[in-house]
């Protein structure tokens, strides 16, 4: 046996990879299939699952309703479609804002003196190490009517003698956007930094030598070369934003319901795992489609690991 193992490279490889592969198969792949099966099922009165094959959950998600205000047999209820659309646009907006904030900072760090680079990078990581839930809580304190932001604005307004009534910022879509941006900003800074840092200084010199000004150098040299970082960062930001429910739960209250909240409520409050499973599969398909088209265009960068 030992002799066979020693001589068969293929057996050694299988043996080494087996625990991880099995673990992932049982806890990631089987659950995905289970979710698929459950999504075709029906809710039992006690909140369990009756296995069957029905597309009811998907039809309901797409807006088919039998509970109509006009008393018709069926009508279009945009509730769930709106939730899906809201999640998608929020994820796009968050990603866009995150790129706009992350890029200059990543650039700043990459072009800083090598001795200080690690410190600047470290300063990006510290907020990341504080807990996700705690970070949302911090924004709750900031955005409140009595919170620090209103105090600061009121103080500035007072200096200019302007009347100021505290803004209602908490429990608005804007609050959710700010919270999401804050949560995921470091995941964009790190990969962009990694790809910017790889750009040799001589390339900037060559661009300048060939007559490119600062803006042209940025557009024609820096941006294209740092695209892998932006792509990796986008994947690291877009996908979790699509599925997160804490930020909207705490900063959006009942006002901003995302697909994550929908799923969570089906499993906890509404006790309809079949509908939750269907919503979760739709979520997965949406993210996979976006990721697929995005990475097909730009490639799947190794920067993901670097982050």
């Amino acid at each position: 046996m030992l002799q066979r193992l020693r001589e068969s490279k293929s057996m050694q490889g299988t043996f080494l990879a087996l625990p991880t592969t099995l673990w992932l198969f049982v806890l990631l792949i089987i659950p995905l299939f289970l979710t698929l099966i459950v999504s075709f099922g029906q809710r039992s009165p006690d909140g369990g699952v009756i296995f069957s094959f029905s597309l009811d959950n998907y039809i309901r998600l797409l807006g088919y309703s039998t509970d109509c205000p006009g008393g018709q047999a069926s009508c279009f209820d945009p509730l769930y479609v709106n939730i899906l659309w809201r999640s998608l646009t929020l994820a796009f907006n968050t990603t866009a804002v995150v790129i706009l904030l992350a890029y200059p900072l990543a650039y700043f760090i990459a072009r800083a003196h090598p001795k200080r680079r690690n410190l600047f990078l470290f300063m990006v990581l510290i907020p990341l190490w504080t807990n996700f839930v705690i970070r949302v809580y911090a924004w709750m304190m900031l955005l409140r009517k009595e919170g620090a932001i209103n105090i600061v604005i009121g103080w500035v307004a007072g200096l200019f003698g302007i009347e100021f009534t505290p803004l209602e910022m908490l429990y608005t879509p804007g609050a959710v956007l700010v919270g999401m941006v804050y949560e995921f900003l470091p995941f964009m800074i790190l990969p962009i930094y990694t790809s910017l840092e790889k750009i040799d200084n001589s390339l900037y010199e060559a661009a300048a030598d060939l007559g490119a000004n600062a803006v042209k150098t940025l557009l024609r040299v820096t941006l294209p070369l740092s695209m892998p970082g932006v792509v990796a960062g986008t994947i690291l930001v877009f996908i979790p934003v699509m599925g997160t429910f804490i930020v909207s739960d705490i900063l959006g209250g009942r006002q901003v319901i995302l697909v994550g909240n929908l799923i969570q409520r089906q499993f906890l409050d509404a006790r309809d795992p079949t509908f939750g499973s269907a919503a979760s599969l739709i979520l997965m398909v949406m993210t996979l489609i976006v990721t697929y088209f995005y990475t097909r265009k730009f490639g799947f960068g190794e920067e993901i690991v670097a982050a």
Binding site: R6, K9, G13, L16, A17, P19, T20, T21, W23, L24, V26, L27, L28, I29, P31, L32, L34, T35, L101, P104, L105, Y107, F108, M123, I126, W129, T130, N131, F132, V133, V136, Y137, A138, W139, M141, A148, L185, Y204, A208, A214, T217, T222, I235, I239, P240, M242, G243, T244, I246, I250, G260, Q264, F267, P273, S277, L281, T287, L288, I304, V305
Partner: protein, 298 residues
């Protein structure tokens, strides 16, 4: 020549982003010293030390711990201590297992050809491309279906019934941590010259000795950073834990989340501050260790 190096725009943007990153944390820490129990506005520091807590409405006037009143309060909170214990138990166990099997898989994927290799490699990307909540409810469904079936089949009752708890949380954490360990170690192995191992074998070391004396020490930095990443992922995890925990397996993020939906006293801020401080010190320590390792010994 670097056209953007001293651009005021870049510097201003950097200052703005750093402020954006740190302002919430600083406010959070400040409020942990709040005299106001309701914690809505900052009503100043707790002014005095006394033998007993003295209250004036919702304002703390004096406390045995003075300004650190909420920290003392925290230390007396058994729920927090239990949650912290759970968090660490889960993180340590899951990291240990994920690091071992993840490193094995990295070696296999980087060094060997075998039938299931494409499948193994592909499965590593699942946690990256699929939202956590999808994995969370999937795992929850798996456990509830599997446990329901097993409990019925073997007539398990009472304490013997399989239920969600620390075990399910740990097992699920490993599932989403392993890919990160494997990918990090794999990246390190890419630059690893096979001739080091051949040299060891050439000098008379068998496969196991070669691994123990040469391969492992050389990939150790990669393994450690993979383990560190896995550990922080576990400590920080909310979503997977949210769906797989059960009675008695509350972790700190779950506990804080529970508080946020009810009453919030500055105790939450104190807890957050302690957490931030511990992580900060741990990371500094690690950095210091790494920099000491990197310096050549003269």
């Amino acid at each position: 020549m670097n056209p953007f190096k001293r651009s005021p725009f870049v510097i201003a943007a950097a200052v703005f982003v750093y402020t954006f990153l740190y302002a919430p944390i600083l406010i959070l820490i400040l409020y942990s010293f709040n005299a106001s129990r309701t914690n809505v506005t900052f009503d100043g520091f707790i002014p005095a030390f006394s033998e007993r807590v003295e209250m004036d409405g919702s304002l703390v006037k004096a406390s045995p711990c003075g300004p650190f009143h909420w920290y003392c309060d925290l230390a007396k909170n058994d729920d927090v201590i239990e949650a912290a214990g759970n968090t660490l138990t889960i993180a340590f166990t899951a990291t240990l297992i994920a690091t071992i099997i993840g490193t094995m898989a990295a070696l296999a994927l980087q060094r060997y050809d075998f039938k299931i290799k494409p499948f193994s490699q592909l499965s590593l990307y699942i946690p990256i491309v699929i939202p956590e909540i999808v994995m969370g409810i999937g795992i929850l469904t798996l456990f509830s279906q599997a446990f329901g079936w097993l409990n019925n089949a073997f007539n398990l009752t009472g304490d013997a019934r399989l239920a969600l708890g620390i075990g399910t949380v740990t097992v699920s954490h490993i599932a989403f941590m392993v890919p990160f360990v494997t990918l990090v170690v794999q990246a390190r192995l890419q630059g690893f010259d096979k001739s080091f191992e051949e040299a060891a074998m050439d000098l008379g070391a068998n496969e196991w000795t070669t691994f123990r004396r040469v391969t492992f020490p050389m990939i150790l930095p990669g393994v450690l950073s993979g383990a560190l990443l896995a550990f922080t992922l576990s400590l920080d995890d909310f979503v997977i834990t949210f769906f797989t925990n059960g009675p008695g397996s509350t972790t700190l993020p779950i506990y804080v989340y529970g508080l946020l939906r009810r009453i919030i006293t500055p105790q939450v801020n104190a807890l957050s501050t302690v957490w931030i401080l511990i992580v900060f010190i741990a990371v500094l320590l690690l950095q210091w260790l790494q920099s000491r390792e990197a310096k050549p010994a003269h």
